[in-house]
Subunit: 212 residues, 4 copies
DNA sequence: GATGAATGAGTATTCATTCAT
DNA sequence: AATGAATGAATACTCATTCAT
């Protein structure tokens, strides 16, 4: 009569496993929401657990501590963003031509993941270690690309590539963080267009630049 | 000679007052150092007091609480920076011509006040209220100037002035914060030159942007 | 036999709940003892926790703060006292006939709950808000009853009912607080008899009172 | 030409002495006001000093500590009240005949010294030591008088004199403290009349009291 | 005497983390 | 795996009191 019941142990385990994953997901989701809203310091583990509908202690079955949860969340967000940016850019072409695609990718990301943007770009000193700082990595890879093109004579060396990359990263990060706080500040289209049209040029521009 | 002893009351008062001011200065100095090194949260009032060589309670004789000390420091730093930027720019001339002077002013400020730069540009959610956020104010005043020139036909309207101003501010802030962490990353001269040469221009992109 | 182990969840929960309740009880008991002995101000939350055999933080798991603990204790004591007084009095009969029963109820209460009496009757400015001041409420209900009987001609209107009620309450409170400090000061019987025989009567004074 | 100047030292001393007395008075006055308004615990020495217009340290030139100031104030108030009550009562006559005069004296005292009444009658555990508890002393002297008259057959022994004295004291104290909080609660005349008419009498109760 | 800056022990309160069930 | 009561170190802040000027 117990033929139809699956082996209890196995069942229990897989049920537990499924439940374990689900619990972890709920904790992550609660963490995203709370960290985005209040920042790392203002959030307590109790709060995260309660928001996830689990007991206090359960938190520690899934994450070593509060920073670990934050890390997991930030890393996932960064992975996703990086993936999208990688997909948008064509390494062989000059940055200039990738820009519209990058801008569109960034804005879409921000639209779909406001909370992630808030978390990534509100990064303060206590939050992430240098190793995992997306902005720094982005800057580094931009600088690399530019250095490469300078070496091949495809780009003028007028601008220090490292400084330029920091400037680019700072610019995009600020704009997107500013927009995400209130998306009505600019339409998606205007945002993409403006980000696209902004070009960092250290040139004696062929076409005289209309003064800002 | 009848060298008169100074009026006792005045002396007494100024002695106390001098001591009070000196203590306050020491607390501010300790605060600058600690906040720059560890951020608002990681610093305790005990620590600040001890670094200043005074007792715990003395801290509260001079500042309502930790945030108040931070506020005082940030406000002073912002005041000084704003003063320098104001002095560097000539309102009547277009931003483009002020840029070299602004860059030089900013770099000098960063050189002389590394700690202040760290404090100002690490502003996180808990740190300063929007009202007193220098970056926001700078962005606003840049946006205003640009809007004014667009209205007078002195500048093309190709770029949204508000977005542009955020971009500018983000760019400069990131670059200077990056540099201050390790001034050997770029020479003062290169830094100023690069910041100067970077121009945000709205070009007529070769490839029209496909809207999503 | 198939003696089923109790449902694990229920067991677990009730074990935790039982422990929680027990801890709360211990904190309340420690609070009663300490507040009675030293008063609200002289007692610290650490002290209460230690007396209850729990850690500092546990206190705050059960009570918002020290005043909250005090409030809970005072309210419970007042509830019990009020219940006893209500049970002792027969609303339909004049106060005079209820007095012996009230006196006996009060004395019994004081005998069984010396600490509560100390807490209730040492109420100082910082202790309870007016709303929850038993004495005031008692006075009010006494005044009401008397006003009612005056309206029905059952009692002379010679005495202001509000003032009289305050007098009654002050009298009983003082006597019981005095006795509780050292019950050997009077036998239980004498106390009840004396309280019973004391009647507040508005006499027709032999000598008219010269008004100032 | 300096004939008219009094000896400087003497002058200075007496000026200082005069000033010393004045400062002390101001501290006492501030203390009365603040203690009446907020109670012993809620008042800080800084507050008293500031209200008196002197520096923090000056407080300690006049009073050992906060409790000492409170004590001085309470003792002065009690001395005055006792003096008035003594003057109102005629020791040789039975209490009953002194009552109207005592009531009038008490009410006058309360009218003229609301703050003192608040301080004296809000006495809590931490406030005054038993030795200086006016109410206890009053009760004791009342009890003495009654015991004396009982011994001389002038008063019935139906009521325990000690308990009775506590009742009297509690009654008057409560009424006067209640009134002082809001003198519009009863006219001065009504108050005196009611206090006067209230007589604690040990009657021969119609219904014998069933002992518990 | 007066000043008032400084002291530092005392106290309330929070919260990340543990562990017995 | 989950629970949730308990822990206790950490920290902010207060205030009675002292003392050099």
């Amino acid at each position: 009569m117990t033929v139809s019941s699956p082996p209890p142990t196995a069942t229990r385990q897989s049920a537990a496993a499924r439940s374990r994953v689900a619990t972890r997901e709920r904790l992550l989701a609660s963490g995203v929401e709370l960290f985005a809203a209040k920042g790392l310091h203002a959030v307590t583990t109790h709060e995260v657990a309660r928001a996830a509908g689990v007991a206090t202690g359960t938190f520690y079955l899934h994450f070593r501590d509060k920073r670990e949860l934050f890390r997991q969340i930030a890393l996932e967000a960064l992975r996703e963003l990086r993936w999208r940016l990688d997909a948008a850019a064509t390494p062989s072409e000059p940055l200039r031509e990738s820009v519209p695609h990058l801008a569109r990718a960034l804005v879409s990301f921000a639209e779909e993941h406001r909370d992630w943007v808030r978390i990534i770009f509100s990064v303060d000193r206590d939050t992430l270690d240098v190793e995992s700082d997306l902005l720094s990595e982005l800057a580094a890879s931009i600088a690399d690309g530019r250095r490469h093109r300078i070496a091949h004579g495809e780009t003028s060396a007028a601008l220090d590539p490292v400084i330029l990359s920091q400037a680019l990263v700072g610019m995009w990060a600020r704009v997107i963080a500013w927009w995400v706080e209130d998306p009505s500040r600019a339409s998606r289209t205007t945002l993409i267009e403006t980000l696209t049209k902004i070009q960092l040029t250290g040139t004696h521009p062929a076409h005289p630049i209309a003064q800002p």
